[in-house]
Amino acid sequence: MTVAQLIFYVIAALAVAGGLGVVLARNTVYAALFLILALLAVAGVYILLASEFLALVQVLIYAGAVTVLMLFALMLTRVGDLPETMTGAQWPLAAVVSSLLMGLLVTTVATSDWPGDADGTITRIPFEQLGEALFRQWAVPFEIASLVLLIALVGAIVLARDEDDDVEESE
């Protein structure tokens, strides 16, 4: 076993442990913290695959920003008051659905013919090339994605403002 393989197994174990922690932790804040562990471990896998840019995006956006927002929301609510959020009546159904999804994903990934990786070596794509593809070749889908995010943002603001208006009217 090479050093890279050893590192991979350590990182993969951390990712799996983090993922299990997200699902099994009874405390929602613990679950969110485990999510950070899982996301960071996945960033580690990206580094092993020689895609540092992807790894850093993962760290900046997911581990650094998205989970912080989740923690923010969770910590503002009182976790102790809502035990049913982690052990709702739907959990058997959720378990079945997510197992099916996992099976689907695993079979798809395992049977697909991935371009560039047929020879078993890692193809290193410089991030300049990534930028070219994203902003030249696929510029329209990129813009549509950002538009969707913008709409979500505006929608969130509209929803939040409506609530405030209600308070004012009730005064």
């Binding site: 913290l33 840019f53 760290v59 650094g64 912080v68």
Partner: protein
């Protein structure tokens, strides 16, 4: 740093030496910075500052560090044990990791990364989680409030920070910190992008949680914020991380905007001169940050947020837009200087107007579900501030 000047030949030994060098750098610089901050604050307030331990009180922080290590490591009974004890590490480790890729001279860095600038921003962003963890796990209302404020402030100000650094990387054509320095070897970037420079300084102040942006740890409001329940070694880890961040943002600013270890007019500097130059440029930033701390008053949280989202972020996008124009149409750099300078003037005018106008009447909104006792009341802003 030793690991780089001498090729030791073994990757593990090399990494170990690098980590040791960083630990030494972190500790010594934090001790010096704390001493310097106390001295500067004393000068500003017409005091002497620490004078008794060592010459000019130089060993005062060393004595304080010994005292802190000897203190009992207290943990509140109702605190959440694991999260509470891990929080200092969640702040400390990302800060430490960010130092790895910062080049001190042309040949001195632990690792030269192609994505160095991005790495520093991404890794320092991980520290936010630590503040939230500390605030939540302490089981203390002030700590929780402070942690929330820290997360909101850090996430908000990360946006203008990243966008200005993007503006710089656009012009330099690289995210590699060494190449950014090489790119600006004739005229440092702050000359061409004064607006970007300004936004960087403000955002760095906010990311460092220093006055006037020390809202998360404000003593008179949340009595120390997320650190309220910490003592001894864990508290000093937060403190060490905070001063290391000060060092990191100062180094980053001097590398990205002041031309790092190069002379302004592009003559190659020798090794010792490079060290001297980066030290001087970094010290300029550090002295500025410390000066501001004792010269300005603290903002309110709503002022802080609206300043970030309504002023800094649009201006940062303006800088990116201007850089794009110059890059695409090949306009001369003078255009960038003029327009960016105009943007800076606009930013200054916005601050001036905000300071100059009369405080608005604030309306207190009753708490939700507060019952009949909660009634709308009006107070003026000076009275509530």
């Amino acid at each position: 740093m030793l690991a780089l000047t001498y090729d030791v030949g073994n990757i593990w030994l090399d990494s170990l030496l690098g980590v040791l060098a960083l630990v030494a750098l972190m500790t010594v610089s934090a001790l010096m910075l704390i001493w310097l901050e106390r001295k500067i604050s004393a000068r500003i307030q017409m005091r002497l500052g620490p004078m008794r331990v060592g010459p000019y009180g130089l060993l005062q922080t060393a004595a304080d560090a010994l005292k802190l290590i000897g203190k009992e490591d207290l943990r509140p009974k109702t605190a959440n044990r694991w999260v509470f004890e891990l929080a200092p590490f969640a702040v400390f480790v990302p800060t430490f990791a960010a130092l790895v890729t910062i080049p001190f001279t042309r040949d001195w860095a632990i690792a030269f990364l192609d994505l160095g600038l991005f790495y520093v921003v991404a890794v320092t962003g991980l520290a936010f989680v630590g503040f939230l963890m500390a605030g939540w796990a302490s089981d203390n209302k002030y700590a929780l409030l402070g942690g929330m404020r820290a997360a909101a402030q850090l996430i908000s100000y990360e946006v203008p920070m990243v966008v200005t650094l993007v503006a710089v990387a656009m012009v330099a054509g690289s995210l590699n910190l060494s190449e950014i320095v090489l790119f600006q070897n004739r005229i440092p970037l702050f000359v061409w992008q004064p607006l970007g420079f300004f936004i960087f300084i403000v955002a760095a102040l906010a990311e460092l949680e220093r006055q006037p942006f020390d809202i998360p740890t404000a003593e008179s409001e949340v009595v120390g914020g997320p650190f309220i329940e910490y003592s001894g070694i864990r508290w000093s880890m937060f403190f060490l991380a905070s001063y290391t961040s000060l060092l990191i943002y100062s180094l980053l600013g001097s590398i990205v905007f002041l031309g790092g270890w190069e002379w302004p007019l592009g003559t190659e500097a020798g090794l010792w001169l490079q060290i001297l130059l980066i030290l001087v440029k970094t010290s300029l930033f550090i002295a500025f940050f410390m000066w501001v701390r004792f010269a300005l008053v603290r903002l309110r949280i709503d002022q802080l947020m609206s300043y970030c989202w309504k002023v800094l972020i649009p201006l940062a996008f303006l800088q990116v837009f201007l850089n794009g124009l110059v890059l695409v149409y090949g306009w001369p750099d003078g255009f960038l200087l003029l327009t960016s300078g105009a943007g800076l003037a606009l930013a200054m005018y916005i601050i001036y107007r905000a300071v100059d106008t009369e405080p608005r009447e604030l309306r207190m909104v009753p708490a939700r579900g507060g019952g009949s006792s909660a009634q709308a009341a009006t107070v003026d802003a000076t009275g509530s501030g």
